[in-house]
């Protein structure tokens, strides 16, 4: 499929642009980054596959305005022309506007999805880098490389690693591996199953436990019985031991009783007590009779001395009553005048009050006049209370009605003044449209500010880059050499500079070396002559000759041997040669000569050896000087060559920049310059976009302004036609606000009018109602006056006063009546008092009858007090004597009774007299005491033995003594201890079993553990599925990569190898495969000299080129069998130098015979390079920067 034409009707920054892509071969589309180029790329993809729901291509055109047009042609000659819009319904239409089905595109992009198209047929710098990086990280592993490149996948190896890692975290087949999730879950499941078993109880265990518990309970019961038996025996012995002394005493008492019983008379039990009591009472009675008779005589003597006036004492009660009434009499006599005055005063007040309403009223009429009918009074009071309310109700209703009518009048006047409403719809819609666009002026100001800032930055950057005077559009189209080229030159400069510097250093060093050798040689030559070898031989011979003489002298023992005889011819010669023959015969001289000869010979030998080294050194120095001169010559020649190369390189460098008009600095500096220039280009592009945005905003501002002006004119508002948008908009909004205010006022007035009309009506009705109520009251008031016999027209206030005063008069009359009654009562009481006193005086004190009433009473009271005292004293003596008489009678009776009792006891005891009675009583008492003690002992024994029979106890004791009982106790102690131990053991076991049984209470522990095991099983299932999917995915992919490699390796290599060589400009001759560290097949680059380089030795750019070579090879192979799709390259030459860019373009030209090739770039030099590489008939250039003059 080929894209014949791409219409950027309304998309991204483009409006009405069209690219004719119908020509064969390569299309190079030059556009600025982001704003243009990328959008055009996006347009191709959106055109073929649809505009996504969310897109950023709407920053100039709204969503519903976005439109792309395309004309397509398939390899079999079919064609399709359509327009694509962003809408749900009929997004595709033909040029005539008729809907086109999406399926119509299937013939042109068979089975290719948007993602597949982007992945396979879109190649950009980022993908190229990612592909290269993956190759490097995979150390050139062929399978992943070829498969990934053929499938357009850039990180296949990383994805495979991720799959393997994920599988490893899920499961490991190694024994004991616990970390992976599945292994851990399996372990947890095992633990849960074990926990289930541990918590489970079988029925057999349950019932076995039941049996064991039953048996243990029986054993425990039996042991308990045995313990109790032993305990009882122990207790018996202990008891007998404790009672031993008591039982012995009991035996003594029984013996004593048996002795007493024959002679004793058994009396009544309490007879001895009765006898003692009777004797005691008789003695006491005799003493009492004597004493009382003596006291009676004394009292009789005291009574005879007292005398009493019986008459006066007989009137004691009357005199006491008179004394009690004395205070009342005295007070009444004082109060009576005041009360009489009060009565008169109240009567006078009542008459006065009544006279105020009824003049001329008499005192005797007063009572009658104060009585009024209750109902009439109540009625009159209620009506009087309501009178004020009636009057005020009418007045307030009238006032409210007047107020409402006044307000209504004002509202009606205001409504009339407000007038009719104007039509503001057009103005509203214009303002709304304006608002929808937002604050365009502010946006423009912001964009303009951004543009100004950017212009400043661009200007500064332009200046700093020595591009003063160049305009942004010129900069955008400036064909500066690529960074790779610049860096290439920098590298060459550096290499050449380094090489030259190295040569110069070498030359300098070599010259210095030669100089040093020359100096050394001269010094060597200047040193002293050396001794000859012959001289050395002579010196040694002299030394030996002397030595022989010395030896001979020593061995022949004497100076008798002529020296000459002892010397042979040779010796003589030696001596002569030494030149000291005269010393031969003298041993001391001989020794000295010998030492001198040895030293001479050694010295000569040393000198000779030294000279030999000097000769060798001299020869070496001469050779080195010769060599240095040769090196110097060669280095000088090489240095000259480098200098020529430097000059050539500088010329090339200068030529490179000629077309740009830029005088370049050295390449290293220009590399830095280049980076900054790149930033400048980006800034220039952004500046262009901002300027476009400014133009669009200006257009929108003017359109809005015109609409507003027209709308304002429509409502009769004249505004200066040159006024800015802000002013016009402000005026329009002000007008709209005025409209709103007036409308609101009108609405409020109408609302008030309706409210007031209703209010006036309601208040009129209220007034009528109040008046009616007032009339009804007046009629009732007349009736009330009549009922009170008051004249018509009397006011409610007068009536109220009348009623209050009548009530007061009635109260005054009641008070007067009470005072009169009290005076009458006083008069009666005083007369009665005086009469009673006179009567008493006439009986007992006639001498006081003439005395004043109260004085006579006082004297009488004094006389009575004296007589009453004497009377009391006599009565006291009388009472005392009566008491003694009674006591005497009782004492005499007691004496008689006691003597009678003694007589009765003599008879009862069948004694002859009182002494015999006493003897028999004593004997009986002894018997009874013994029996008592025995009974007490028996009772104690019963208490101590828990009510056992004393006789039985006595029998139980038998003949046992204390030691025998203690032995028994000790025995039973031992038995008990043993039995208790057995019982406790049994009980402990029983408790354990019972506890065990208690755990079998229907616990859910096992069920819960099993439920947990089931949960683990569920997780195991999930993790197993996950592991299988992950592991299988990895296995499948690896296998398929192997299959793919087996099938495709050869054709891919055949196609990719020459392209790789071409892309590296011959730096690599070809590619071969080899085995890597892990026996995997890896790619090896082969240099022209057959040097083999692993991909780890490749530079970043070279791995990118390797990926590209295989990527293109994959596409090329696929296109042989399928509908070829357009290939879209987006600035893939970022890291390519000029030569490699040219090489890549050449390959693309080659590829364009198969597939349509679209190369998007923002580098003009790429476009220029294409012209130099691709034949004119196979290259079409386009420019997508129409906003910038000069951009084409």
């Amino acid at each position: 499929m080929r894209i014949q034409r791409l219409d950027l009707t309304a998309y991204g920054p483009f409006t009405g642009r069209s690219l004719d892509l119908s020509a064969p071969g390569v299309h190079v589309i030059l556009g600025v980054n982001e704003a243009g180029k990328s959008r055009a790329l996006g347009a191709i993809i959106d055109g073929l596959f649809g505009i996504p729901e969310q897109t950023s291509a709407n920053f100039v055109h709204t969503y519903d305005a976005l439109e792309i047009g395309m004309a397509l042609r398939s390899s079999d000659g079919r064609s399709l022309e359509f327009r694509r819009r962003k809408r749900r319904k009929d997004p595709l239409v033909d040029p005539g506007g008729s809907a086109v089905a999406e399926a119509a595109l299937d013939a042109f992009r068979p089975s290719v999805t948007r993602e597949a198209f982007e992945q396979m047929f879109g190649i950009d710098h980022t993908r190229l880098e990612a592909g290269g990086r993956d190759i490097l990280e995979g150390r050139g592993e062929v399978g992943a490389l070829m498969f990934g490149a053929s499938a357009g996948i850039t990180d296949l190896r990383a994805a495979l690693t991720k799959l393997d890692t994920e599988a490893a975290t899920l499961f490991s087949g190694r024994k004991g591996a616990a970390k992976p999730g599945l292994n851990a879950a399996i372990t947890r499941y095992g633990a849960a199953v074990t926990a289930t078993s541990a918590a489970s109880v079988g029925p057999e265990a349950h019932y076995r436990l039941v049996r064991e518990i039953t048996k243990l309970k029986a054993t425990e019961r039996e042991l308990r019985q045995q313990v109790e038996d032993a305990s009882r025996s122990h207790a018996e012995a202990t008891l007998l031991l404790a009672l031993l002394s008591t039982l012995r005493r009991r035996r003594e008492l029984v013996t004593a009783l048996s002795e007493l019983m024959p002679g004793a008379v058994r009396l009544r039990d309490d007879l001895p007590d009765d006898l003692a009591s009777a004797l005691s009472r008789r003695d006491e009675a005799r003493d009492a009779v004597d004493e009382i008779e003596r006291r009676i005589e004394g009292v009789n003597a005291r009574m005879a001395e007292i005398e009493v006036d019986e008459t006066l004492v007989g009137q004691e009660n009357r005199i006491s009553e008179l004394t009690a009434g004395r205070d009342y009499y005295r007070n009444a006599k004082g109060d009576r005048p005041g009360l009489a005055s009060e009565e008169a005063s109240q009567r006078q007040r009542a008459v006065e009050l009544l006279s105020r309403l009824r003049p001329g009223v008499q005192a005797e009429e007063a009572v009658e006049l104060t009585v009024l009918p209750t109902l009439a009074v109540t009625n009159a009071e209620e009506l009087a209370d309501a009178a004020n309310t009636m009057s005020k109700g009418v007045e307030s209703a009238q006032a409210a009605l007047d107020e409402s009518q006044s307000e209504l009048g004002e509202v009606l006047r205001a409504l009339a003044e407000a007038g009719e409403e104007k039509d503001s719809a057009t103005l509203k819609s214009s303002v709304a449209a304006c608002n929808k666009d937002g604050d365009l002026v502010a946006q423009r100001r912001q964009v303009a500010n951004e543009a100004r800032l950017l212009e400043t930055e661009v200007a500064e950057a332009t200046s700093s880059l020595d591009l003063v005077g160049r305009q942004p559009d010129e900069i955008l189209t400036l064909a500066v050499p690529g960074i790779e080229t610049v860096e290439g030159f920098a590298g060459r400069y550096d290499e050449l500079g380094e090489s030259t510097r190295s040569l110069e250093n070498d030359l300098k060093a070599q010259r210095a070396k030669r100089e040093q050798r020359a100096v050394d040689l001269a010094a060597l030559r200047a040193s002293a002559d050396a001794p000859s070898e012959d001289q050395l031989i002579d010196a040694r011979n002299a030394r030996e000759g002397l030595w022989k003489r010395i030896r001979r002298l020593v061995t022949d023992e004497g100076a008798n041997v002529p020296m000459a005889d002892g010397l042979d011819e040779a010796d003589t010669e030696e001596v002569e040669q030494i030149g000291n023959p005269g010393e031969v015969g003298d041993p001391n001289q001989l020794a000295g000569s010998y030492e001198g000869a040895v030293a001479d010979a050694d010295q000569l030998a040393d000198r000779l050896r030294h000279e030999a080294d000097a000769v060798a050194r001299r020869a070496q120095l001469e050779a080195e000087i010769t060599h240095s001169e040769e090196v110097i010559g060669r280095l000088s020649e090489e240095l000259n060559g480098r200098q020529s190369e430097q000059a050539e390189l500088e010329r090339e460098w200068g030529d490179l920049w000629v077309t740009t008009g830029i005088d370049p600095r050295v390449p290293a500096q220009m590399a830095l310059w280049h980076a900054r220039f790149g930033a400048l280009v980006t800034q220039c592009a952004s500046l262009g976009a901002l300027r476009d945005r400014l133009a669009a905003l200006d257009h929108d501002i003017e359109a809005n302004r015109q609409h507003l002006l027209k709308a304002l004119a429509g409502i009769g508002v004249a505004v200066d036609s040159d006024a800015p948008l802000a002013l016009v908009r402000e005026r329009a909004e002000q007008e709209l606000e005025n409209f709103a205010v007036l409308e609101e006022q009108r609405r409020q007035l109408e609302k008030d009018r309706k409210r007031l009309l209703s209010l006036v009506e309601r208040r009129g009705a209220a007034l009528t109602n109040a008046q009616t109520k007032k009339d009804e009251w007046e009629e009732a008031w007349s009736g009330a006056l009549e009922a009170l016999s008051l004249p018509k027209g009397t006011s409610p206030r007068s009536v109220k006063q009348f009623l209050v005063q009548t009530q007061e008069a009635r109260q005054a009359l009641k008070l007067a009546e009470a005072a009169a009654t009290r005076v009458g009562q006083m008069d009666d009481s005083m007369a009665s008092f005086q009469h009673e006193l006179a009567d008493v005086l006439s009986l007992v004190a006639p001498d006081l009858e003439d005395a004043e009433t109260l004085s006579a009473l006082s004297a009488l009271s004094a006389r009575l007090a004296v007589q009453t005292k004497a009377m009391t004293k006599r009565s006291t003596h009388q009472l005392e004597r009566d008491g003694y008489s009674a006591e005497l009678s009782e004492a005499r009776l007691a004496l008689t009774a006691a003597e009678g009792k003694l007589g009765d006891l003599v008879v009862e005891a069948q004694a002859a007299d009182e002494p015999e009675l006493r003897a028999r009583a004593e004997q009986f008492e002894s018997l009874r005491r013994t029996e008592g003690e025995l009974a007490a002992l028996d009772a104690d024994l019963r208490t101590s033995s828990q009510d056992r029979s004393p006789v039985e106890l006595d029998e139980g004791l038998g003949e046992a003594d204390e030691s025998a009982l203690k032995a028994q106790i000790s025995h039973f102690d031992e038995v008990q201890r043993e039995l208790i131990g057995q019982r406790e053991g049994t009980y402990t076991l029983l408790t354990e079993k019972r506890h065990e049984f208690a755990l079998m209470d229907g616990s859910a522990a096992a069920a819960v553990a099993f439920a947990e095991a089931q949960a683990e099983l569920a997780e195991i299932g999930t993790l197993t599925e996950r592991y299988m999917a992950t592991h299988l995915a990895s296995q499948l992919l690896r296998r398929q990569m192997e299959v793919f490699m087996a099938e495709q390796q050869a054709p891919l290599m055949d196609r990719a190898c020459p392209w790789f060589s071409q892309l590296t400009c011959g730096f690599f001759a070809t590619l071969e495969t080899d085995l890597g560290d892990k026996d995997e097949t890896v790619l090896i680059g082969v240099r022209p000299n057959r040097e083999r380089v692993g991909v780890e030795g490749f530079t970043g750019g070279t791995t990118d080129q390797l990926y590209l070579a295989f990527r293109l090879a994959g596409i090329s192979l696929a296109a042989e069998h399928n509908e070829p799709m357009p290939l879209v390259f987006d600035d893939i030459f970022e890291k390519f130098d000029e030569a490699r860019t040219a090489a890549a373009l050449g390959i693309l030209a080659e590829l364009s015979e198969q597939s349509q090739v679209l190369v998007f770039t923002h580098h003009r030099h790429v476009a220029e390079a294409a012209k130099g590489v691709i034949m004119p008939g196979l290259l079409t250039s386009h420019e997508l920067v129409p906003r910038y003059p000069g951009a084409g």
Partner: protein, 416 residues
């Protein structure tokens, strides 16, 4: 007279397939079958039920913890102490249960397995006829030997059977509706089938279903049947729910969903419905995504993350346990075209397609890969409801998921 009819208690049989995850209501569910029985007993006492009938499968046969029997015994004691007569029999699951054989139930009547017997409850005027299973696999028509109805009393047949067969249940003690009707009983209290079913109203033949759903196939409300008898005739037959947790299958049609997020939204809505229908109970839900959708590969590829996301969302919905998030969708897009557009990827898809079409080849080639995994898995994990990694089924499922993963890796899915 009120009669409670329950069956298939399967006490202490755990809820299966519930993988624990953070926030899941594990504590509330781990004793669910016991809690359901306790609920039943509470209701019976509150309702003043006169007779309780348990139609078999009170325990699981291979369950050995006698505590289960003791628990059941204590619950039966609560009933009998409250004056409820209890009659029960053994079904296929508890025929050979040691618990059944050894446990003494207080005041309850348990049918023997040698021949049909009649339990007469004079006070109630009821005769219950029944026979326990002597072994799990009873293929005889037990009902045929049940005695004819006794005159003058209310006759009940207690029987553990699948009648003429019911899906998912072994055809034990087979019999026809006619066999039952011919006995002249007033009410047939059946057990064995776990889904409630009123088979007939004349005479009444009722499966009450089990008390508590235990796995994803036992969905919907579970409980017992309350029968009210007046004047010797059935007046009402009511379904009563005592389950603690309710299983639900939330099937989500993803045909209209373009992305996994859309699918999750749909699933969330379905889960909300299930919770609303559960009468306040905890819901154990299996979410099954069906339909033909563009999101097929993304759903399979991101299965784990999506399941986690849905479980996270479930906490907002209510008392909910997402048991499984199952992808059963079909791919909307035909991948065959990849062969032309992206041959390398197309080749992978073709290879997977070939394995799918030739399962023998799939097993032969990749079965051994998972042999070590199979060896490490517990036997129960490889059982009927588990997964055998070397089996054709497991490998085919893994193949589908692997294909989705590979397509995701190779860039065919998951892109905006």
């Amino acid at each position: 007279m009120k009669i409670l009819h329950a069956a298939d208690l399967h006490i202490d049989s755990p809820l299966r397939g519930l993988e624990q995850y953070d926030g899941a209501p594990w504590q509330q569910l781990r004793q669910a079958p016991r809690d359901a029985l306790s609920n039943l007993v509470n209701e019976a006492i509150d309702e003043e039920v006169d007779l309780a009938l348990f139609a078999g499968d009170i325990y699981d046969g291979n369950w050995k913890d006698f505590n289960t029997g003791l628990f059941f015994s204590s619950e039966i004691a609560r009933l009998t102490e409250a004056g409820v007569a209890v009659v029960l029999l053994a079904g296929n699951h508890d025929a050979e249960s040691k618990i059944t054989k050894r446990l003494t139930l207080p005041n309850a009547f348990r049918f023997g397995h040698d021949r049909p017997e009649t339990c007469r409850l004079e006070d109630l005027g009821v005769a219950v006829h029944g026979q326990s299973y002597s072994q799990p696999d009873v293929r005889d028509n037990l009902a045929r030997h049940y005695p004819d109805a006794e005159p003058g009393v209310f006759n009940i047949g207690l029987l553990h059977t699948a009648l003429t067969g019911r899906d998912g249940h072994e055809p034990y003690a087979p019999c026809t509706l006619e066999d039952l009707a011919n006995k002249g009983y007033d009410y047939w209290a059946l057990g064995h089938v776990h889904h409630r079913e009123v088979v007939s109203e004349n005479p009444w033949v009722v499966f009450p279903g089990n008390l508590q759903g235990r796995h994803a196939k036992e969905t919907g409300p579970k409980g017992y049947t309350l029968v009210t008898v007046e004047d010797g005739e059935v007046r009402s037959v009511e379904e009563r729910h005592v389950d603690v947790a309710r299983w639900a299958r939330c099937e989500v049609d993803a045909s209209g969903a373009g992305t996994p997020a859309d699918v999750l939204d749909l699933a969330q809505a379905e889960l909300g419905k299930a919770v609303a229908e559960a009468e306040g109970r905890i819901v154990a839900a299996r979410v099954v995504i069906v339909g033909t959708t563009d999101a097929h590969d993304a759903l399979l590829s991101d299965h784990e993350e999506l399941e986690a996301e849905l479980r996270s969302r479930s906490f907002e919905i209510g008392d909910l346990w997402v048991e499984k998030f199952q992808i059963a969708t079909k791919r909307a897009r035909d991948l065959s075209g990849l062969r032309e557009s992206v041959p390398a990827i197309g080749a992978v898809v073709d290879a997977i397609g070939a394995l799918r079409d030739q399962p023998d080849e799939l097993v032969a080639r990749y079965g051994a890969t998972f042999e070590s995994l199979r060896e490490r898995l517990p036997l129960a994990a490889r059982g009927a409801d588990g997964i055998d990694p070397t089996s054709e089924t497991a490998l085919k499922n893994a193949l589908e998921a692997a294909e989705a993963r590979l397509l995701s890796i190779m860039g065919e899915v998951g892109r905006e």
